[in-house]
Subunit: 442 residues, 2 copies
Amino acid sequence: MPPQTTSLSLAAVLQQRRDRLAELHPEPVVLWSGQAVSRNFPANTYPFRANSHFLYFAGLPLANAALHLEGGRLTLFMDETSAEAALWHGPSPSRDAIAADIGADAAYPYQDLDSYLGEAATLSAQTTAAERRKALVKAVVALRLHHDDYALDQIKRAAAVSVTAHKAGMVATPGATTEAQVRAAMEQVIMGQGMTCAYNSIVTVHGEVLHNEQYHHALAPGDLLLADVGAEAPSGWASDITRTWPVSGQFTAPQRDLYNLVLAAHDACIAAARPGIEYRDLHLLACRTLAAGLVDLGILRGDPDTLVERDVHALFFPHGVGHLLGLDVHDMEDLGDIAGYEPGRSRSDRFGLQFLRLDRPLAANMVVTIEPGFYQVPGILGPARQSGQYDNAINWDRLKAFDGVRGIRIENDVQINSTGCTVLTAILPTRADAVEDLVSGA
Amino acid sequence: MPPQTTSLSLAAVLQQRRDRLAELHPEPVVLWSGQAVSRNFPANTYPFRANSHFLYFAGLPLANAALHLEGGRLTLFMDETSAEAALWHGPSPSRDAIAADIGADAAYPYQDLDSYLGEAATLSAQTTAAERRKALVKAVVALRLHHDDYALDQIKRAAAVSVTAHKAGMVATPGATTEAQVRAAMEQVIMGQGMTCAYNSIVTVHGEVLHNEQYHHALAPGDLLLADVGAEAPSGWASDITRTWPVSGQFTAPQRDLYNLVLAAHDACIAAARPGIEYRDLHLLACRTLAAGLVDLGILRGDPDTLVERDVHALFFPHGVGHLLGLDVHDMEDLGDIAGYEPGRSRSDRFGLQFLRLDRPLAANMVVTIEPGFYQVPGILGPARQSGQYDNAINWDRLKAFDGVRGIRIENDVQINSTGCTVLTAILPTRADAVEDLVSGA
């Protein structure tokens, strides 16, 4: 999706956000940006990432800064760059210039914040009593759940770079011998566009390891490579894409069968995503689609609905179908399940539902991921087989024909619109033959 | 420098290190590895970097682990990977297997560490009284100042990857339009080799901003591009290289004059580096070489020695000529100046010496950087000119002829050997014409 520009200035967008906050939460609020974190010694820090709640209202990734919000007014607290810091780190805009960019009503040295703290609610359990904090969290979640045009534009920009990165990874695969080389080709695109990774990339021939952050495996011609890589714009807005492609440029027949099944689950969710639908129902739709397809392939036996009720599908798809996407790749996960779960709901104990990160009805301008998968995780399937309890549901002999498939996931970023949804990352192919063409350079 | 292998196993190397520690510090010691740090929400962490003192004695970048060292014995404290963690993060070696790899004498769950803490010295001011901590720091510094063969081999491996990265940056420059693209081409090499960056890269046409971690400037044909980029091996050992090259592939005459002057300062230090020489004297040698050259170019007036005594050179070279290199790119800088400064010495107040990070006599198997530079920092030269106090030493009119030179630095990693030194990064050209050839693909 080509980047779009919005008609509103950053300052006007931020004014709208805090006017909405003032409606939901008239009491004063203080939010901190945070500071750079040391990697191994004080001067050697990780790249600074500002707190997402701060970014939502400040727009700029300022370090060592704080905001005071009250009745739509914005007061910025940060120190001017010292002469010595300017000498080493270069000139930077003055506090007043930054305040003007973000439309702040006032701007003061950081230490002046102290006198504002007593009356303000914060998101820190250390400085704000539980009930007061809860009210602020509720207001912030209500705002951040539904993205404004500026946010959507930023997410689209990040998504466009992620798409290019995935194409670069596919193109680089025939010439690569390790996962690390493909990862490097993908992250080079993100870095070259002046963006960062929204999360630690997963680029692996062991897609069955769901959070695999190692890249040392060699690539073999029969392998599937799973790449879960997403760019984050300098403003902090994230994207999140997964594709799975054959190292050889050609899916084997069993790989293609399971790839097409995961794609069918993905496509079914996209077709169903619209305002009002429960995200949990999209998840269950993906589960039923997978179960039915696994029956068709002879891997599972029985009625798909019953298989899903028994969580048999979850042995091969043990995670949720996706999550909120925004300033965080799992948006607002710093607040636990408060953003992901509608008030009054909580995580299920069921194996097939416990990893679902989002359980709300969808609404216009929410952005979510849709990311079904199929995995053969030894730590799940080994005990399941040994237990004997799935012998009436799983044809273990037939499953052997699919040994070459350790992990497949297909993930896109989806904006709910007024009647359905828009796939923000649709320009990156999902069809098996189109993916093969990209890898093999056809 | 091609990677070399050492004859000793990791376990044998670590045994030697702790035997040496036991000689210097017979009392028990506890060192922690640290844990992954959150980026914006708990599950989204920065890539984990283990504490360098832990790495020195543990050899492996274990997270959430601790070591107890006493009389040459090593006890490892870490928890086994839980079944659930293994499910999501993949299988990992057992505690006993890790203990065997690093030659630990015993290995226990993390919580068992508690009973060892009372008697042990640590590097944490929170858990160890100042005098006791000081004794441990002294012993650790004494060990880590002089590298064993295993460490040198690891540094050489990192250096070899950094060399390749710099060549890739030069080659990518003609096709790049922004700093970010050149940075991406360089870091792609490091990532593709399974290494990480030892520090946040500096890749900029504004080399006069000494700690420039932004990459958004466009490249113009007349610009010099300064790249300070170094790889870190998975074991944690670092490298650190700077080169400065013309974006066009061709230095202008004033650029070449100043480049050759910085190179002359660099070469003079390399020629003089040997056991017994004071690192401060190498710094002053670089200063005098620069001052004499600036006199020859008509930029400075007067006797070079007198100019250095007046710190006139430091207006153009405001940092030290280098630093210790090891597990940290500024090795052991987490301990302040204790490693860098010989006991009894401390930072000078002089502008030309206050940023010197290392003030010790060099000795065999120390690794240091040599990195003289020439910069036109507006925040330094502006006030200097306005003050009038350098009018008898600086020909401001003549300086205008060198407007196109904002920042040049040339940096190599140097191992002190028994009679002189070995430049570990010598395979990457420094001569102006060789650099031009790499950039222009000649």
